[in-house]
Amino acid sequence: MNAFDSLMAGLSLVGNIQAVLALTIGVAVGVIGGAIPGMSATMAVALTLPFTFAMPTIPALLLLLGVYKGGIFGGSIPAILIKTPGTPASSATILDGYPMAERGEAGRALGMALWASCTADLISNLALILFAGWLASFAMNFGPPEFFTLILFSLTIIAGVSGESLLRGALAALLGLLLATVGLDLVYGTNRFTFGDPNMMGGLNFIAVLIGLFAIPEVLAMVLNPTGHLGKTRSIGKNWVTFADYRRSFKSIVRGSFIGVALGSIPGIGAAPSAFLSYSEARRTSRNKEAFGKGEVEGVAAAEAGNNGVAGATLIPLLALGVPGDVITAIIIGAFMVHGLQPGPTMFVMNIDIIYGLFIGLILSSALLFMIGSVAIRGFKYVADIPRRLLIPGVLILCIYGVFAVNNNLFDVGVMFVMGWVGFLMMRYHVPAAPFLIAFILGPLLEDNFRQAMLMSGGDPQILVRGPITWFFWVLTAVTLVAVARAGFRGVQDKVRVKTSS
């Protein structure tokens, strides 16, 4: 069977109303699930799984993939509107999305999020279709030493999201690294900073920390100063993103998509680091760096491109090797197995029609995401019109419900409130929250991979420079550090010059 025949066979599997309907429902469910804080894309996919057992193969898989794609985009809606990421991957979207909503540009931010998501989704799907085999074998070269150097490099993002003061950013990052050490030690299985409480043994819940850090400080600020917002406009404002915005951000979107594809094809990283990396790269190369973090539309575009770029690429190790890259694809593998499919190289031989069917369905999903996303935005954007005195109590209820729902554990709600006060104090003293979060995500990865590498080599640090991939990331880290140091140095010089001239 040649490629054309396979394509036709795939088309015949997808080209029926049932398959398209499953995909449409999937995307819609995903967008709504992603938009509910605490529900998250992962939970939405897990809840959909049992429904697919009785369905035919192709609609079942497309339904799940639709939920996945929709969920990753849906998370950006509450991130922009109420500073509460619906799914961890959209935490980078807050940085510029929420300031835009504050300024009355919620519609523009949401529109850009959608356009960037769909573009990245399409690029990611094309990468899957064209380069799956090649990218998968590349990803298999990533052992613990390679991971360690990659994560080390990713930590330099902190410099990009620290805002005015690198020192304050570093302080926030240290705090994040510290809190990430709570829980069970990976290698020895002993308790760390759990104070004998079983609830602490699992570590601090990521979503509780996330929502506590971003959304709760807004609530606290409102409680302490109930009339502070009066006089500020906060409406939908300029309704929709313009094509000029899109063209201006296009480079960042494409870059973000490729970052997403690269990180997505490597199992075990996930969408949140990709979004942050894409964001910090967009800021670094932008001409108006100063605007980032204060409501720059390109920041929203970069963050959303980064996380949606992952969504197609995580299927690369899944289909090419049978390796699930994250929790969501692990659930999707379950669906493959229920339908008697074994993802991996032989599936490209035995079930090539299904593979092509999935490819066509994925391309279709980008278009469906655009349509369903537009409708969803039209519905959700009126949230921005709600007066703040009504909105904030609503946000608080949503946060409590959302954090509880993640794990059905009241302890997590407590963690959220404690982190809320931490976040509030950080806001008061101009310590940025984003570096805290990045360190909290990357810290455990850094530590685990370092220790795994040391176990592999019996304690010999030479393993950390064992191949070209590690060299590449060491050089990249060094270059970035030098650039950051030089920029910092220049900043000091500028300040001195301003002082002497005045």
């Binding site: 992962t42 939970m43 996919v45 897990a46 799984l49 049992p50 057992f53 009785a54 298999m140 070269n141 990533f142 052992g143 613990p144 829980g183 069970l184 030690d185 990976l186 290698v187 020895y188 299985g189 002993t190 308790n191 079983p198 609830n199 043994m201 699992g202 570590g203 819940n205 199992p267 075990g268 090797l321 049978g322 390796v323 699930p324 929790v327 969501i328 692990a330 659930i331 593998i333 379950g334 493959f336 197995m337 229920v338 339908h339 008697g340 074994q342 993802p343 991996g344 190289p345 032989t346 599936m347 794990n407 059905n408 554990n409 685990d448 795994q452 176990l455 592999m456 019996g458």
Partner: protein
């Protein structure tokens, strides 16, 4: 202070309610705690049985994932629950035999639960890379004696951790803890991937986690721990190799309540499970995951779990694997 007053106030009507409830259990939805994350082996198993079990029970089953610390967080939630049968736990090999056998710091023990059933058995398979030059378990043992062999697991105190050690111990490796390196990973998927990308030499894990890798010739199975051969895995069984003790080494999923769960409730669960596991759709789904549906009554389940725990505990004590800190 207020919460205490509230608790006392609400306890009074509850004591009356409890006696009434026993007569016609269940009269309201039952919360089923899944102590592992969405998409894991326990979660998929739990959600697969949810439908037929819910039909048998006649009341809604509320599936709730309470994750963290290798299943400990969710297990503690049920350990401390009222023994009225309205909060039950999906117990799993890792959280209920391996962890109790290996971790002195665990906030619960086997005595804190009453097991009402075990309904799923997962054979354990040891696998290596096809290009590793290891063809049989004897090759692996020879290589262990040379040194430089490592294995991956999904964390300390998991089935994968003790499985590799137990296999080496059974095949006569002295002091396996120091001869091979344990490289824990986060999760079962990552443990299999670690063998695939050459980070570790071998892994012993549930057959379901390896079936697609074996079908695709990416990994080579060298041992299955059941008495019978496992379909799709071209490797000798424990019985073939004359190691019947290894047949203890299997994964399982069951259901448990708090320790003082009344007898009549346990009996009811036994009946419901018999009905649920007879559902052909359920059996078919479970088998497609590579699991064996094997229903145990409350007594059989307790005896099975106790037996496995004692085996693991003896091994952990003998080799000094207990984690005290």
């Amino acid at each position: 202070m207020r919460s205490k007053a509230l608790a006392i106030a609400s306890a009074i009507p509850l004591t009356f309610a409890a006696t009434a409830a026993l007569a016609e259990y269940p009269e309201r939805p039952i919360t089923m705690v899944i102590p592992f994350g969405a998409g894991g082996a326990t979660d998929i198993s739990a959600r697969t049985i949810a439908k037929p079990l819910g039909d048998a029970v006649g009341e809604a089953l509320v599936m709730s994932n309470v994750t963290g610390a290798g299943g400990a967080t969710g297990s503690v939630a049920v350990q401390n629950a009222k023994a009225d049968g309205y909060k039950m736990l999906f117990a799993r090999v890792g959280s209920h035999t391996v962890s109790p056998a290996m971790k002195a710091t665990l906030p619960y023990g086997l005595d804190d639960f009453r097991f009402v059933t075990v309904y799923e058995i997962n054979p354990v398979v040891c696998a290596v890379r096809p290009d590793s030059g290891i063809e049989t378990i004897d090759d692996l043992i020879a290589k262990v004696e040379e040194g430089g062999v490592s294995y991956s697991s999904s964390g300390v105190g998991t089935l994968l951790h003790i499985a590799a050690v137990m296999v080496l111990d059974e095949f006569g490796v002295e002091d396996p803890l120091n001869k091979v390196t344990h490289i824990p990973q986060k999760g079962g998927g990552a443990a299999a991937t670690a063998v695939l990308n050459g980070t570790t030499t071998f892994v012993c894990t549930n057959s379901s986690a390896l079936s697609s890798f074996v079908a695709n010739d990416q990994l080579k199975p060298i041992l299955v721990t059941t008495a019978e051969p496992v379909a799709g895995f071209d490797a000798p069984s424990a019985a073939d190799l004359g190691k019947p003790e290894l047949e203890q080494l299997v994964g399982w999923t069951g259901i448990a309540g708090p320790a003082d769960l009344p007898d009549d409730i346990a009996v009811k669960w036994g009946e419901w499970m018999a009905e649920a596991t007879a559902d052909p759709g359920f059996v078919e789904s479970m088998e497609s995951f590579g699991s064996i549906v094997e229903l145990m009554s409350p007594e059989e389940a307790s005896a099975f779990i106790e037996g496995q725990y004692n085996t693991f505990r003896a091994l952990a004590d003998e080799l000094g694997m207990r984690i005290e800190g």
